[in-house]
């Protein structure tokens, strides 16, 4: 075999992609050919250097965040067939009770109790970007944005100026989601838009919750009868940092 033929196979030799007989042929050629041996050494040197690059450990925060999001997507309340076979007999009865409860619930409660609120807020976020209705009032000054809502809502949303160096308040708008009229405050971090939806709830105070819907990150908290939801395509870590800062600046959260 000529040097040209050998050289054409050196990378496959290095990558263990040759048959045993082809390998042996190259081995014996290299023993007697300094030129080809030199070519192979160069390849090995590049390989050695690349393999010397650190293999990073996945951050535990990412691992935890993925696990949390997976739990959010899966329906953890649905029992599996094997472990709950004994419940089959009463499934019909349970279904009837659940259906009756649901019908009663739908009749007695206003539409503001929809469990798919998070998805609807994501849709509202997407809509705000797509149909060019991001802002009704464009200003980076909270003293301009906040008064704009007066008379338009039966509550006064708390507006903060830019919470940090990288965050910018763009303004606000009125939005209507799932039968509720709400305030949407718009912030920007780099190229990522954040909608903070604020609306009146009769809900009980709730802790901060994070979730992912349709690839968007959501974070929410309810307190003093107002619910705050931030929605963005920003990564969860940064969105949480933003939300924490946003809430920190609200007096009644600080207390």
């Amino acid at each position: 075999m000529t040097c040209k033929n050998i050289e054409s196979q050196l990378e496959r030799y290095l990558d263990a992609e040759l048959t045993f007989s082809d390998r042996r042929e190259i081995d014996s050629h290299i023993e007697n050919c300094t030129h080809c041996a030199n070519q192979l050494n160069q390849l090995k040197a590049i390989q050695r250097n690349v393999r010397n690059v650190d293999f990073k450990k996945c951050p535990s925060s990412l691992k935890n965040s993925i696990r949390a999001n997976l739990r959010d997507i899966s329906n953890e309340d649905i029992p599996t067939n094997n472990s709950f076979q004994w419940l089959n007999f009463s499934a019909g009865l349970l279904f009837f009770i659940a259906a009756a409860t649901w019908v009663t619930f739908q009749i007695l409660t206003p539409p503001t109790k929809n469990i798919d609120l998070s998805l609807q807020l994501v849709d509202a976020h997407i809509r705000s970007i797509q149909v060019d209705h991001l802002l009704d009032i464009a200003s980076s000054n909270k003293h301009t944005v906040k008064p704009w809502f007066t008379g338009r809502l039966d509550f006064s949303p708390l507006v903060t100026n830019s919470t940090s160096h990288s965050t910018k308040l763009l303004g606000g708008r009125m939005d209507y989601v799932n039968g509720r009229t709400m305030a949407a405050l718009v912030y920007k971090i780099r190229k990522h838009l954040i909608n903070v939806f604020v609306f009146n709830t009769n809900g009980i105070k709730s802790k901060t919750k994070t979730m992912t819907k349709k690839g968007y990150q959501l974070i929410s908290r309810t307190t003093n009868g107002l619910s705050y939801w931030a929605v963005s395509d920003l990564n969860q870590k940064e969105l949480k940092a933003f939300f924490d800062e946003y809430l920190q600046s609200l007096k009644h959260f600080a207390n």
């Binding site: 990558d15 996945c58 990412l62 993925i66 997976l70």
Partner: protein, 198 residues
Amino acid sequence: MLTKRDREKFERLTMKHLDAAYNLALWIMKNPTEAEDVVQTAYLKAFENFLRFDETNVGGWILTIVRNSAFNLLKKRKLHSNLVSFDEAAHSDNSNKTTQLNDYHLTPDELLCLNSIDNNILESINKLSPEYREILFLREIEELSYKEIAEVTNIATGTVMSRLSRARKSLRKLFLDRKKREATINNTVKKGNTRSSE
């Protein structure tokens, strides 16, 4: 509908590939925050499609989704523009004939340089195109075969060979160029020191 049992099974099968997924995303994106975004998106996408997955070659499946998510993001953000250009035409199935390393003619100094372990090799790797970084990662770090790389990247095996070869050539050039620059700077500093001591 995905249940708790599905999630537990998914985690059992895929979480052990998380480090590889993160490193692949990091090699392609070059940015830890973006790499985290990519992995997060890829794992959620994988879970959503889990019931349709036949559970063979889980690692390859995850890496495919991660690399697709990464390239989608790159495409979206048009990051390709500031990288070493990627000659797509050179990666056709017939191109492997022209991608041998027989034009490697190095001086003894260059050979010595190439043989030494360089802790800043990542600097040179990061100047490569995302496609070259990806293929180097899959071959040298994950140690996948040509066939496995072809499956992950959805390209022909011949293209894997030619792309890998070109990636190595480009890296070698970037590496030696950097070493030359460093040597020139060192010589200038030495000359300066000698003059000042005189």
